[in-house]
Symmetry: none
Subunit: 164 residues, 4 copies
DNA sequence: CATGAATGAGGTTTCATTCAT
DNA sequence: AATGAATGAAACCTCATTCAT
């Protein structure tokens, strides 16, 4: 695994927080990379589930905007999610990559539906929207970014995404 | 020092790249944190110098937009800059914090001038603009984000920043 | 227990191969050393049984030579036997030591009978014969030692053991 | 590296015996396998030097027999040498393999010269002689094998190697 | 003053052994 | 009585930092 992907917490600390011995962690996740992968995959899956749930919503525009806002707000509390999103969408075959691609597809569906409903300008595509989601999530993890500023940041983005 | 502060490169590698012995690095920067701090401070100072240079530009709107674009493009090649911007602007007293605050003030000046020139909507403030700069820089560092997508992402942001 | 006593296979693997749970292994052999001991004792006992069987053979010379050859051939396939023989014959009181001593005595009987029959020179004694058995067994376990070479090696030894 | 090849001593112990810190060992030998390799290569080289020295000896028969005896006696004190010889002579490209092959060639030269001098029977070849050297060395490492028995074991082998 | 070898603390991983079911 | 999850000691290895030259 690349060193850069190493999560801040040592496995020993993970074990202590979980209230188990360190070897127990390794029984379940034979490798540190496995542990990270599993954590990420679970988060991605949860976000995808939320996206799919909102796909059924009556009003596509607020559904998209609401999902975007939720993800960024989540990233503000759980720092790691922003970093995790960064690595999403590769062509690789790992568990985390698959989960990330699933999430990406679900977001794409939300986006298209909002565009068809005329809530989002029709000339933007998933890649840049995903990049904006990633970026604002990362920014939200900034320790000096309070809720109010975060919302104003998102308003700018949503204005940019609104039909001309 | 905490392990979290460890930058991707080991000090030994840094020394080798710099063409000096490892002990020499430690003579100049007694601590790895010191080294990182110095690197960051220099980058911040350079960006600030660029911002101040553009402050004199004839056309405030393009000056602001150009600076923003340059920083994000730079972050695409030098990954660390995005991460560095994340930590900028604290109240702390370190060398890096001071440099970051200097950069922030210079960006604030660029922004105000662009707003006065009517190129940027007048109801946004520095904190959210800075957050957008940080976020898009981070997103640009994503390995799967090519130049075209990056530009489309920025267009959305600039549209959001344009006067209504 | 000392790490040196660790046999190549982990206890977990042993349990899996045996088709039982790991805790069951420890119920029968409270310690890894106990397990190894039991395995060795069984091997030694089997070899002793074979030696005693050959003791009844009509022709003492071929009986001795045949047994020697069999053991070495066996060591070629089951690597551990060579290593096991190494530890045989101590004064200690363990199960394995007793089995090893039993084997040694049986080999001694085979040897004496072959000497009385005039098939083996009368001035060699058990210790050096046993050492030769141990050594050639270990050599046979060598991964680059094919059957032909093994047989030529044994011929040299048997020539050396032949009456002058 | 295979687990079987793992030397009994932990790197920490090696470091303590050498009177240095553990990281120092790893600076010189980046891997445990490297360390073992280096130790083996040195031993092989020393033995080869001794073999080449004896190649110049006036009397080829005693030279060969003497070398064989020396190696086995050495293995009696330095246990690891016997185990080391076991792995000698592969086709692999490592440092240790090359040293082992060099040793093997030197022994082959000693052997041929002794055969030409009529001191060793002419129908034995290097592989079985090498196997006998390996085996007797291993046997000599046995903790219950005293000098006298070792010498009687060697006499049997040398008798087997004598011209008919 | 610059260098590279030395250091020990800390990280990941394995394995014999114990406990709850 | 049998199972498999849990455990901690110990192994290998890395890296920021210090010391002798």
């Amino acid at each position: 695994m690349t060193r850069a992907a190493t999560a801040a917490a040592s496995t020993e600390e993970v074990a202590r927080l979980a209230g188990v011995g360190i070897a127990t962690v390794f029984r379940h996740f034979p490798t540190k990379a496995n542990l990270l992968t599993a954590v990420l995959a679970r988060r991605f899956d949860r976000l995808r589930a939320r996206a799919e749930e909102l796909f059924e919503a009556a009003d596509p525009g607020p559904a998209f905007v609401g999902f975007f806002t939720e993800v960024v707000a989540d990233a503000a509390t759980k720092i790691a999610i922003g970093e995790a999103l960064l690595d999403a969408g590769g062509d690789e075959e790992g568990e985390a990559e698959q989960a990330a691609n699933g999430l990406r597809r679900a977001i794409g569906a939300l986006l298209r539906r909002a565009q068809e409903a005329g809530a989002i300008r029709s000339d933007v595509e998933l890649p840049e929207v995903y990049a904006l989601l990633v970026g604002t999530s990362r920014a939200a993890a900034h320790k000096h970014l309070d809720d109010e500023v975060r919302n104003r940041m998102l308003e700018v983005v949503f204005d940019g995404l609104a039909p001309r």
